[in-house]
Symmetry: C2
Subunit: 336 residues, 2 copies
DNA sequence: ACCTAAAATGACAGCGCTGTCAATACTTTA
DNA sequence: TAAAGTATTGACAGCGCTGTCATTTTAGGT
């Protein structure tokens, strides 16, 4: 049942090397022989054995995804994108869930690199900001692509999204709806995204000549609870914003819940929007207007970069396109 | 830097075959030579090359996880468990996100099986109930383990959790809290879990000699929206249950939200519990009492089964232990 | 001490492919 | 039309390991 390159060569009446050439899409093969070989391969249901390829050649047809346990949705999407890119080139994706705090993490990576020499590694946050991991990879000459890192990686291209731009767009959308009194709930100060999202908000407000009321800028920590706290402070004031831009969805859901406690209707009394498009954003009611991070695309791009032949590229930063998802939690201001 | 078995053999002063024996923990090696080899291997930082092992031997040291795109949290947890089991035996996990409706899904699997002969496959729902997938695997003699399948798989051991027992425990917990007026919201009739969870509820009620009020048994579809609908029907009645057991968390969250609309305090006026422990279950307020599915354990067990030497086992069903997670959405009845 | 069985070790082929380089088949040019 | 490319194909070694089987060493029994 399982056929080898030799079987195909015999059937096509050529040498195994020629079959190899066809399978690898090498140049200098007549169209006629190409077709002969392809036909024979199809008839025999042949697919090159990856282990043999790896042993004989230099490629392993395997790339690895290293990730920390955190956001499950993130991982699933990255994987989806990465495997799509792999599939097109006959590659496969090996996953390695790591625990950032576990000291054995470095050994795991060493093993991965030595036992299974992968052709490349995708590093998701926070792993991509870990110097030791990066240096193991560099020492072993394994190409890697950091996804959404908070630090720069020299010559290595990185894949990310543009948080500033996304936040600006969301703000502009709110302004377009007629809102002028917009509150903002910041994210955890330790995450690089927090500052970027706030920056986008500020830019848009400034461009629209709208005043940012400092009392309406609340600190947050990206948690549901911190959203609740921020909302309480906001809703207890006599001057109340007509819209609240929360730096992420978890906090936005805390805000929605709190609004109900205060008897505020969403979006009639107050519009609320988030950032991330977590699964529950569409489950919650009213469904949350938010920014969908291009996670799958980032995975795709990262894999693509690893698999592309041109080793270095002048472009060092790939910004993948996010998407503004408009749902029911935002609406025009009552005045309009 | 990268050393081969030959290097180790030279350094230890033995043949490469002996090194191979040590690395594979084969019998008939003196303790003394074992140590010599281990030492040399350690000094040279040696790890056997998987591609070469695969080519020469019969094992590929790779198992695959096939899954459909649906629940991200599920995938992440299965992967965690499976890779833990793999790590211990020098295996690695290759992932293959598949789209159930995509016709090319079968080709993807064929390729996986031929290019990268994996030693085993973990099949998550709904893939494990797909006859074609199973038959490709069977035809190619690839061992596979279905995780939480809704159908039986003959001799093949399956890994699952006990939905009936879990639902029974949850109900008993509610009863222990003093509740006697308990409503139940069923899940999507197409999912096998729906019937099982209801069965567990019924069993527990019956054992406690409690009456099941047919008006309090609502149909649902596992969606937030259907939870809202069920809750409306329940709360619009004059006789209202003191506790609601929802067949999953998404519906439970719909119920919670609806309770607020009706001015009902949770858990003071009504206790609500779910099933699944999705990430937002702990994010939502009040945090949801629910059943944590042993997803990671199922992944671990499935991989373990695939990697264990004894090919067949008399035991054909592995029920992994779930966990009752008590949070804030349930409390004693006011009367107590 | 000697023979036999069992345990420990090693020699060698070959897994299925790719890299290198040589051989052959076609073109082009003068 | 012959010389000199240039494009196409093939022969063969060897990647790093394991399986098989032969060989050597050790232990056991009398």
């Amino acid at each position: 049942m399982k056929s080898t390159i030799t079987d195909v060569a015999k059937r096509a009446g050529v040498s195994i090397k020629t079959v190899s050439r066809v399978m690898n899409k090498e140049a200098n093969v007549t169209e006629a022989t190409r077709e002969k070989v392809m036909l024979a391969a199809k008839e025999l249901n042949y697919a090159p054995n990856i282990a043999a390829r790896r042993l004989a050649g230099s490629k392993s047809y395997l790339i690895a995804l290293l990730y920390d346990i955190p956001s499950p949705g993130y991982v699933a999407n990255i994987q989806k994108g990465a495997t799509d890119a792999c599939r097109a080139k006959g590659y496969h994706l090996v996953v390695e869930p790591l625990n950032f705090d576990d000291p054995s993490i470095l050994d795991n990576i060493e093993d991965l690199v030595r036992q299974l020499p992968v052709d490349g590694v995708i590093l998701t946050p926070p792993l991509c900001d870990n110097g030791e991991i990066v240096s193991i990879l560099a020492r072993n000459r394994i190409p890697y692509i950091p996804v959404a890192p908070s630090t720069s990686h020299g010559e290595t291209p990185i894949v990310k999204m543009d948080d500033v731009k996304a936040a600006r767009e969301m703000t502009e959308y709110l302004i377009g709806l007629g809102h002028t009194d917009i509150a903002f709930v910041k994210g955890h100060p330790g995450h690089s995204a927090s500052a970027l999202r706030f920056e986008g908000f500020r830019d848009a407000m400034r461009s629209a000549d709208l005043r940012i009321n400092p009392d309406w800028i609340q600190d947050g920590e990206f948690t549901y609870k911190s959203g609740v706290d921020a909302a309480r402070k906001l809703f207890n004031r006599t001057d109340r914003p007509s819209a609240i831009f929360s730096s992420n969805d978890d906090m936005a859901m805390g805000i929605i819940s709190t609004a109900r406690e205060f008897g505020l209707a969403i979006p009639d009394d107050v519009s609320i929007c988030g950032f991330d498009d977590v699964p529950s954003a569409q489950i919650v009611w009213p469904a949350l207007t938010t920014i969908q991070q291009p996670v799958a695309q980032m995975g795709f791009q990262a894999a693509q970069l690893l698999l592309s032949d041109k080793p270095s590229e002048d472009k060092v930063e790939y910004n993948m396109a996010h998407k503004l998802i408009i749902r029911e939690s935002t609406a025009k201001t009552p005045g309009l």
